[in-house]
């Protein structure tokens, strides 16, 4: 499989605090990468640096071989190719479910209405919400809203999709339905980076895992191995907080 994303020595400072101190990793097409680490470790910042919601200070981000961390790059084109799913969904509250998912194809990609609608319907179907197309976000549960926000990201037909703690605002029951959708996506061959505290998901679904602590990647590897036999003391200590992991 070809490399879709290569990150080299990414750094980011907020005022005097170094949040990212040189992050490097690679992602192949179709892979799911789980990013784990405690709160404040810099994992969400790293994700936000990738699509430049927070512009990184230095480093290279190669998307299909092209460095996108340069001023010459058209940021909007790059962002449309990288889906982003937020912790608190951020659906457009004045638009119905269908309109939310059609929004990307229609307003960002500039497709005709009919085509945008077909894409949207397919993605809504994929997340199992076809019976709710005329509902508005405020009428949906958190889990349903997150599924729609995943459909909204997918409707742009991105090259990869970034999940920023997609289940952290949900209770365990709703978490299950969102993780179900994400697992199906991974099985369909979608390339994804998932910042998460769901260790079960990271272990069973991800092809690769990265453990970030204090702005550096402490350990990366195949999840089963990393979870069963962490090589670093810090990884071991972090993982020991999660009970029930095999």
């Amino acid at each position: 499989m070809s490399t879709i994303l290569e990150v080299k020595d990414l750094t980011k400072k907020f005022a005097d605090t170094e949040v990212l101190k040189g992050i490097s990793f690679e992602l192949k097409k179709g892979e799911t990468l789980a990013v784990i680490g405690s709160s404040g470790s810099g994992k969400s910042t790293m994700l936000r640096c990738l699509n430049q919601l927070s512009p990184p200070d230095s480093g290279e981000i190669l998307l299909e071989g092209v460095n996108i961390n340069t001023p010459e790059i058209d940021l909007n084109t790059v962002r449309a190719d990288m889906g982003f799913v937020f912790q608190d969904f951020n659906l457009f509250i004045h638009l119905s479910v269908l309109e939310n998912v059609m929004f990307g194809p229609l307003r960002v990609r500039g497709l005709p209405k009919k085509e945008a609608r077909e894409i949207a319907m397919a993605e809504i179907e994929r997340v199992g919400m076809i019976d709710k197309i005329d509902f508005y976000p405020a009428q949906l549960s958190g889990g349903q809203q997150q599924r729609i926000s995943i459909a909204r990201a997918l409707a742009l037909r991105p090259k990869l999709i970034l999940f920023d703690e997609p289940t952290s605002a949900l209770d365990p029951e709703l978490t299950g339905e969102v993780l179900g959708v994400m697992t199906a996506l991974a099985n369909d061959g979608m390339t994804a980076i998932v910042v998460t505290h769901e260790m079960g998901f990271a272990q069973s679904v991800a092809d690769k895992a990265i453990f970030i602590d204090q702005g550096i990647i402490v350990e990366q590897g195949v999840p089963e191995q990393m979870f069963a036999a962490p090589r670093h003391e810090r990884t071991r200590h972090f993982l020991s907080n999660f009970v029930g992991l095999e």
Binding site: N51, L53, L75, N76, T77, V78, R79, A80, D81, M82, F84, F86, D88, N90, L91, F92, I93, H94, F103, G104, R107, V108, F135, Y136, P137, A138, Q139, L140, S149, R152, A153, L156
Partner: protein
């Protein structure tokens, strides 16, 4: 009673005055809306220079009494007719107030939605047009209705530059009602009350139409 007969016979004059008042009102609200929205967008989304000019203009218009601006515009050497002068002067004043209505409504649009639109690769003008403005409109209607009724009443100021609106008509009529001044003003008061009620009724209806399912309704 004599005064009632006079008022009834003068109804066509009051109707004329009302039409003029509504013309001034529509004009000043439209001017205030366009300029007010521009000021609000400039103050929130503009760069430092744009922001500075918008804020200065808004503070200036905010601070000048409507009467002063009315006379100022009327006596500018452009030979404006009184209705135009009133629309421009009152519209400029209104823009300062409307800008604050829009500013508040724009800032109430959750920043997460704007970030989500940004993350989808939507340009700033499109974010403003498709995400911010539609939500702003719904949030603005309540306070904007307040501005509407306040400006409806302020059209009566236009009579100082010679606009023959409701107040000016009342003055003419008072000239031959032989001491029944209070009765004429009472009639004028009732007229303004009815105009305000009719206007606000329509704005509440509009607000209801723009209601987003899942949110509370005005009870």
């Amino acid at each position: 009673m004599e005064i009632i007969r006079i008022l009834i016979s003068e109804l066509p004059q009051f109707a004329k005055g009302t039409l003029i008042a509504l013309e001034v009102l529509a004009g000043l609200l439209a001017l205030g809306l366009v300029l007010g929205l521009a000021i609000a967008l400039a103050e929130i989304f503009g760069n430092t220079v744009v922001k500075f000019f918008a804020t200065t203009l808004r503070k200036f218009l905010w601070a000048i009494p409507q009467l002063v601006l009315l006379f100022l515009v009327f006596y500018l050497p452009f030979d404006l007719n009184p209705v135009c002068a009133a629309i421009i002067a009152l519209g400029l004043c209104s823009s300062a107030f409307q800008s604050q209505i829009f500013r508040g409504a724009i800032l109430s649009v959750q920043s997460g939605q704007i970030e989500a639109a940004k993350a989808m690769g939507l340009s700033k003008p499109k974010i403003i047009f498709y995400i911010v403005i539609p939500q702003m409109i719904r949030l603005s209607i309540g306070p904007w209705t307040n501005e509407f009724s306040s400006e409806l009443k302020d059209t009566s100021l236009a009579y100082v530059v010679g606009v023959v609106e409701i107040m000016r008509q009342a003055k003419y009529i008072i000239a031959y009602t032989f001491g029944n001044t209070a009765a004429v003003y009472l009639f004028v008061g009732v007229l303004y009350f009815m105009l305000t009620r009719i206007g606000t009724y329509f704005f509440y209806k509009l607000e209801e139409r723009l209601w987003v399912p899942g949110f509370e309704k005005r009870s």
